[in-house]
Subunit: 188 residues, 2 copies
C-alpha cells in the first residue's frame, strides 16, 4: 500500500517552480519539451517525471564546443567549464592574436580566426561560445553561420540577427546586473 501510494504521488508545476525559483509557465514549457504533460487536477506523476528526466539526461550526447575569442573571459570560461565535471567538450579556440594562435590556452588549442569555417567542419563543432570584442561580434557571427554552426552562446552585449535554424542564447552579464539593480530599486 505504501508503495502504491508513492507510485501515485503527484506534484504541481507551481510546487516545482517554487523549488527552482522559476515560473510555473517555464516548468510546464520545459517539461512539455521532453514530452511530459501534467494533469490539471493532480499535477505531474512524480515517478513518470523522474523517469523521463533521467532518460533525457542519459541520452544526452554532448556536442563539440569552440570558444571564439580567447581573452580573459574566454580563458576563464574555458577553465570553468573544464573544471566543472560536466560532459561539455571544448575542442578548439579561435583568436586573431599571433601570440595565442597554435598554442594551448587554458588547455585548448588556439586556431586563427581565418580557420573557423575549416576547423568547425573538421572537428565537428556544433556550438560556439562568443567572447569577442563588441565591434567584431556581428562579422564573426556571420562566419559562424556560414560554417554551419548549430548553436551560439553569445557572451557579448551585441544583439545578433541569426537564421532561425541556429539556436542562440544570449548571456549578457551587464544586462543581468542592470536588471538586478533595477528590481532592487523598484522595490525601494
Amino acid at each position: 500500500m505504501e508503495h502504491m501510494h508513492v507510485k501515485g504521488a503527484h506534484i504541481f508545476s507551481h510546487n516545482l517552480a517554487r523549488l527552482l525559483n522559476i515560473t510555473p509557465e517555464q516548468v510546464r514549457r520545459d517539461l512539455m519539451l521532453i514530452g511530459l504533460t501534467g494533469n490539471h487536477r493532480k499535477g505531474y506523476n512524480i515517478e513518470a517525471l523522474v523517469g523521463l528526466i533521467g532518460k533525457t539526461i542519459d541520452s544526452y550526447d554532448p556536442q563539440n564546443i569552440a570558444i571564439i575569442g580567447i581573452g580573459n573571459l574566454g580563458r576563464a570560461v574555458t577553465a570553468f567549464i573544464r573544471k566543472s565535471g560536466s560532459r561539455l567538450r571544448i575542442v578548439a579556440s579561435f583568436d586573431i592574436d599571433p601570440l595565442k594562435i597554435n598554442h594551448e590556452i587554458a588547455g585548448v588549442h588556439c586556431y586563427p580566426v581565418s580557420d573557423i569555417e575549416k576547423m568547425i567542419k573538421k572537428l565537428d563543432i556544433s556550438i560556439a561560445i562568443l567572447t569577442v570584442p563588441p565591434d567584431t561580434a556581428r562579422s564573426i557571427a556571420g562566419i559562424l553561420t556560414d560554417s554551419g554552426i548549430k548553436g551560439i552562446l553569445n557572451l557579448t552585449s551585441v544583439h545578433l540577427d541569426l537564421p532561425e535554424h541556429i539556436y542562440l542564447k544570449d548571456y549578457d552579464i551587464i544586462t543581468s546586473l542592470e536588471e538586478i539593480g533595477f528590481f532592487i530599486k523598484s522595490r525601494g
Copy 2:
C-alpha cells in the same frame, strides 16, 4: 500631418519580441514593470515607449557591487564589467586566499571573507556576484543574507534558497550550454 502620423505610430509586442529574440510575453511583462501597457488592437504607442524607457534609464542610479570569490572567473568578470563602459560599480572583492587579501585584483581591493558583513554595510554594497567554489556557495549566501544584501548574481551552479526580499538571478553557463546542446539535438 506627417508629424501627427509619427506621434500616433504604434508597435505590437510581437514585433518588439522578434527584434529582440525574446517572447511577446517577456516584452509585455518587462514593459508592464516600467508602467507601460499596450493597446490590444494597436499595440504600444512608440513615442510613449521611447519616452518612458529613456526616463527609466536616466533615473537608474547604479548600486555598489561586490565580487565574492576572485578566482579566474571572478577576475575575468571584474575586468569585463570595468571595461564595458557601463555604470556598474564594483567596489570590493572578497576571498579566503591570503595572497589576494589586501591586494588590488583586477583593479579592485580584495577583503577577507570574514569581513563580508562589515564591509557590505560600510561600503553600502547592495549587489553581490557569487563566483565561489560550489561547496561554499550556500554558506556564503547565508553570510550575504545576514549582511543585508539586496541582490545576488549567482554564477555558481548551486541552487540557492534565499529569503523573498533578496533578488536572485542565476547565471549558470554550464546549464546554458547544456540547454543549447539539448535543443540542437532535439531539432535533429
